[in-house]
Point group: C2
């Protein structure tokens, strides 16, 4: 886990990590949320809807933004203030995602940073883009 | 699970549900994301930071927006296009959240709806506010 202080951070700083979305993650996410929607849980239904596999919950994809902030940038001193994300392409169970955040702005008065976010799949297709504002605590 | 079609939906339509954030959900979310940040995992550290209990992952709170869209509004035919949320107050482990979405706009050309989101804790404090755009499939 990174432990960047506000003073350690600068505009342009980037962190990135990769993660494979497993069936177990899908089950865990359903367990937490109770979201039993068949697009995410019924392969036959997902096929009917034109997908090659069960579609990963968008909010499961965006869960990895928690990791980006809380482990990587800034890491330990992270407190998420806001998140925006768009899902331009579907994530399918088994996809390997690369999650990247780049510091695009810093607010010295309130000591928060703005990250530009992108998540790409193993083919390089962007599956999530957006931004987060993250407070950096003492 | 609701099964609203696009034609069944109108501006002003509202759905709401309540959920308690349990320790098990916190463990599951950490298992999915690998977010080991101590604010969410170490009660002593959370106390040092001025909180009465471990702080719930912001992205775990927003996970319930998956349920709102995929089970309640529109339910079965949901496909989330985008999410925006701000976290004006912390959620603590054990809090009971009420998640509400209200249709504020509809796009007939692309058949998606816009929901205004609010999540309040058991004291009525708003802990998440934002909006989602959700496609309503056939």
């Amino acid at each position: 886990m990174n432990e960047y202080r506000y003073e350690d951070i600068h505009i342009g700083m980037t962190e990135s990590f990769s993660v494979k979305v497993t069936e177990e993650m899908m089950e865990s996410f359903r367990g937490i949320t109770g979201d039993i929607n068949p697009l995410h849980n019924d392969e036959a239904y997902a096929h009917e809807q034109g997908y090659d596999a069960r579609v990963v919950y968008g909010m499961l994809t965006s869960s990895f933004l928690s990791t980006l902030a809380g482990v990587y940038l800034p890491g330990r001193r992270s407190l998420i203030r806001s998140v925006e994300c768009k899902f331009p392409a579907p994530v399918l169970a088994g996809d390997e995602l690369t999650v990247t955040g780049e510091v695009t702005d810093m607010n010295d008065d309130y000591r928060f940073i703005t990250l530009k976010i992108s998540i790409r799949n193993q083919s390089g297709t962007k599956v999530c883009r957006g931004k987060m504002e993250i407070g950096v605590t003492e």
